[in-house]
Symmetry: C2
Subunit: 316 residues, 2 copies
């Protein structure tokens, strides 16, 4: 973690979309794609809304980045498939940046550096995953946790006189937790062809909730304190904290990190964990509802499979 200057970057537009099929698990509501529905249809809706709110079009973009946790196809990358929907007539580059659940935060952190450097100027940043494609009906804790959703943000260079900026970003990975959240099968280590009745469970999402909570409780407080100190910002300067909507344990963990109930957004009961779309969907919603506005300092924070943690302070 190296200290660096802020990046004069603005979120110029935003959009979100959620699957329509509603499921109830006690007091928790989740939304899933129907069999045959497609995450790219959700990304289309989110992208259209993002362009409308920015007053921009695909022709204004220099680059498409997907900050997603899971592949739509094994090949090509997700951004090429989004490109096909929106930029078939253009030649802008497409790439994926992936740190699983915090992919949006990592991608925004990286993209803001690229914009500050002049490598790109206007970037379409798309997140979202088909959680429902790999949920294990026999693992109740994870089966009842996720929703399918997508988001799109237009990330641009801030104009002269605008206060929008990325104030500070940091990421850490503690790989002692690498297998606490995983899908063991389906990639190069255990190809789809190897699935049989004995190992079928390996192709489902597998979450060891208690282990993750323990590791997070051990690592996160120090990480957050270090970030707060390095960023030079105090908790009362922050208008709203947008945490990854990881699970109902949010309300246990956030106060331990020094963020009481009223300081952060918690919509876990409304839509649960949306993997890479969690943070940007919640950010989008709080902007649309007026909980945060231009000039506000917002903290994006979350954990991801890895175990990875991200911290990104931005002035909207």
């Amino acid at each position: 973690m190296i200290h660096m200057k802020s990046r004069k970057v603005k979120l110029a537009g935003w959009g979100k979309a959620i699957a329509e099929h509603e499921m109830k698990f006690g007091d928790q509501t989740r939304f899933r794609l129907h069999k045959g529905e497609n995450l790219l249809d959700l990304t289309d809706q989110a992208i259209a809304a993002a362009f409308e709110s920015a007053g921009m079009t695909i022709e204004d973009m220099d680059c498409i980045v997907c900050g997603m946790a899971t592949p739509l196809q094994a090949i090509p990358c997700n951004a090429a498939l989004v490109h096909e929907r929106w930029a078939r007539h253009l030649d802008i580059p497409a790439m994926d940046i992936n740190t699983t659940c915090t992919s949006f935060i990592t991608a925004l952190d990286m993209v803001s550096c690229l914009i500050e450097m002049g490598r790109y100027r206007n970037v379409l940043l798309v997140s979202g995953d088909t959680a429902s494609a790999a949920l294990n009906p026999s693992q109740q804790e994870s089966y009842e946790l996720f929703s399918d959703a997508a988001t799109a943000f237009i990330v641009t260079a801030a104009e002269e006189g605008e206060s929008s900026e990325i104030v500070y970003g940091a990421q850490k990975t503690w790989s002692e937790g690498a297998h606490d959240t995983e899908i063991r099968g389906g990639g190069g280590l255990m190809p789809a062809f190897d699935m049989d009745e004995q190992n079928r469970e390996d192709y489902y999402f597998d979450m060891k909730g208690t282990r993750i909570l323990k590791l997070s409780a051990k690592k996160l407080p120090g990480f957050v304190e270090q970030c707060m100190a390095k960023s030079g910002v105090t908790r009362k300067d922050i208008q709203l904290v947008i945490p990854h909507q990881a699970s109902r344990a949010l309300s246990l963990i956030m106060p331990r990190l020094g963020f009481p109930k009223e300081s952060y957004a918690d919509y876990v009961s409304e839509y649960g964990n949306m993997i890479s779309a969690s943070v940007p969907y919640t950010l989008c919603r709080t902007i649309e509802e007026g909980r945060v506005k231009r000039g506000d300092l917002v903290l994006l924070i979350g954990t991801a499979a890895g175990l990875t943690a991200n911290f990104l302070l931005l002035r909207l």
Copy 2:
């Protein structure tokens, strides 16, 4: 494509490893992992060699980036699994950057911006794929093309007085070719669970060689001319071109791009296409053989599923 200043970044170390099982297809040699062998064992060898050549250790690194085309597991990201092998005792971040076959070039382009910005200082950049995990024995053209290999590069800030730099980088994607090179199954669009006797072919790598060649022949000459002009470099300034070892068509395409036989590295007959490891493996080999040395201008160039093309000029 925006012009920007060069990045004072150095390749401080390099390593490569190739699978041991040798196969002959006519005059072409390929290397594949045996069933049960693991790409992470190859990345371990490559990383050990990279640290040795750099005179550095994992403790010197700020970040681990995997520039790979295919997932080892669906979750977590590949870099978290490399982190687990090397940095379990550390908390440095791990992330993936993916543009399929040109992932190494894209990642080096992006990472050099992050280093120039001060976001990171020393980055371990790992590439490689298990091509053999998804080859279709009934598609001869692609079945006989690929090898399994891995590479590691240490990317660092250049010291005062060193001439090493990234001179110019560009990427374009033409998604009319999005389905010319693909694995349709295994991701969110067509989960592993949906495989049956009818659609089994969709889970194999599928390459439409003639279509890719036609699209490349249409798009690449203009792209290369534009990059040459913007970079301010002429072909005779370049010591060696390191193209993606895409296929035997290399010797047809390169002269059309203004690069005659002696100007570029062609090892297709020796090891074929190594997906994301192709360019860095070939770069590593040409450094080790003394074909290129410190201070030389080297051009990394290649196409990837997308269709994506990358162009990166670096002074070693």
